[in-house]
Amino acid sequence: MIQFFNVTKQYKNGNVALHDVSLAIKNGEFVFLVGASGAGKSTFTHMLIREILPTEGQILLDGKSVVRMKNREVPFLRRKVGFVFQDYQLLQKRTVSENIAFALEVVGLGQQEITKKVNAVIELVGLVGHEKSYPEQLSGGEQQRVAIARAIVNNPPLLVADEPTGNLDPETSLEIMKIFNTINKWGTTVVMATHDREMVNRLRKRVIQLSFGEIVRDEEKGGYYNVR
């Protein structure tokens, strides 16, 4: 599914976010990306939707090069990769339903099909009754559910999340994590950058730890602890 070959990213200010990273993530895996702030987690996740390009190396998604992709192909890549942000990135002027429907309108689906899919995903993330609410009327956890719903409504084979529980209390985080787990069980590959020690320790998934842009640990059913 995801292959990184000697990927290095150096920003214009000289900061090296990733250094010579090589790895492979199989279809259907659930991977936690852990590490201190500035370890390169966000750079890694944002490379998967080609928001950031590596300065060196190659990234393949389903065998297709993300690096050599033409600009006009990028929207179609992004339709196959659901992305969940720490700060939700919801449109404040649109209702819950409209925020989720947004991702389907972009693809050009008809209204009937959109309504059907939106209703299904609202049920999945547990937001029934909130369809007509605006984001500001929701709690942080509820907003993140909307963001997840928007990310998965298109049935993307890959779901990427950048600190999705970073702004949430432990109880709400657990609820959110359960949703990710369910989605993963249905076959979607999940890559999640996180600081959430408790979640990582509880779920026991593959853990890739980054430190100063390098992989320092890659462990099946790993926990959250420091190597260096």
């Binding site: 990135q89 947004f102 050009g108």
Partner: protein, 295 residues
């Protein structure tokens, strides 16, 4: 799929407009004001040109040939006149034709021939037109040098007035239109950029869920189009009403100004105002959106 997209674009265009009605309203008003000033200027210059054209058509030099000159010599004169600087065209009016034209002017109420006792007192004469009002004076000077020409009649004051009016109307008009259009485009750019800026996050999210560039641009484009259309329609309405009222006033109160309702030209101007509004709105949207597409 295309129909689905189209529905979304039109819905979003209106939705954007409605949700940002404050800024949108300001844009419409700014555009309407700018286009109204432009409209009034164009109409004013058009009317000015109408007056100028009317006056210019009356700028004829009547050169009367001395009675001692034979018909043949009188006709030969045209060769010399045609060589003069500023000459445009001429018409030879024989004394026989002159009396017929005079009779026509008096109408049937008076029999000129019997009144004059069967004698035609009119000399042969040339009606000469110059290439431009500026050339009337030099042409007259040249004509005075011909000994065969006895008398020259032309509207000196009219020439001077036409000259200053033409200069004033055309140059000030062009200057005004240029300045106002520049200000209008500037205003629209600012307002639409503000609108787009207020939606920078929306554009960012659009990009993340896989929207293509044209998908992102089109609703903004439609919004700009509608701002332009509304601004243009308001300006056209005000210009139309203004034209009606001013013309009515001028025709009733300042009768000596040779002005007529010119609806074909007015409608062309109004059409250009609406078209210009749509163009500026759409172009402004595109220019303002481009900047935010590099997510």
């Amino acid at each position: 799929m295309f129909a689905n997209y189209l529905k979304i674009f039109i819905r979003d265009g209106f939705r954007f407009l409605w949700r940002n009605k404050g800024i949108a309203f300001a844009s419409v008003i700014a555009l309407a004001v700018a286009l109204t000033i432009t409209g009034f200027t164009v109409v004013f210059v058009n009317s000015g040109n109408q007056v100028v054209e009317h006056l210019q058509s009356q700028l004829e030099i009547n050169a009367y040939v001395s009675q001692d000159v034979s018909r043949l010599d009188a006709l030969e004169l045209s060769k010399e006149i045609e060589k003069m600087p500023g000459f445009s065209d001429l018409e030879f009016v024989s004394r026989e034709k002159g009396i017929v034209l005079l009779q026509e002017r008096f109408g049937t109420e008076m029999d000129l021939e019997s009144t004059l006792g069967g004698v035609n007192p009119l000399p042969d004469h040339y009606i000469i037109r110059s290439t431009s009002p500026e050339m009337v004076e030099p042409l007259v000077t040249e004509l005075r040098r011909l000994p065969q020409i006895e008398n020259i009649v032309y509207g000196k004051e009219i020439v001077d007035n036409v000259l200053s009016f033409t200069f004033w109307a055309r140059n000030l008009g062009m200057f005004l239109i240029f300045g106002v259009m520049l200000a209008a485009i500037f205003l629209i750019m600012i307002t639409i950029r503000l609108t787009v800026y207020s939606r920078a996050q929306e554009i960012r999210v659009m990009k993340f869920v896989g929207a293509t560039n044209w998908y992102i641009i089109l609703p903004f484009f439609i919004e700009g189009l509608m701002i332009g259309l509304f601004g243009g329609l308001i300006a056209a309405g005000i210009t139309f009403a203004g034209y009606q009222n001013v013309m009515e006033y001028v025709l009733l109160n300042i009768a000596f100004i040779p002005l007529e309702y010119d609806y074909p030209r007015l409608y062309m101007t109004l059409g250009s105002i609406v078209g210009g509004g749509i163009f500026i709105g759409a172009l402004g949207s595109l220019m303002a959106t481009r900047k935010y597409l590099k997510v």
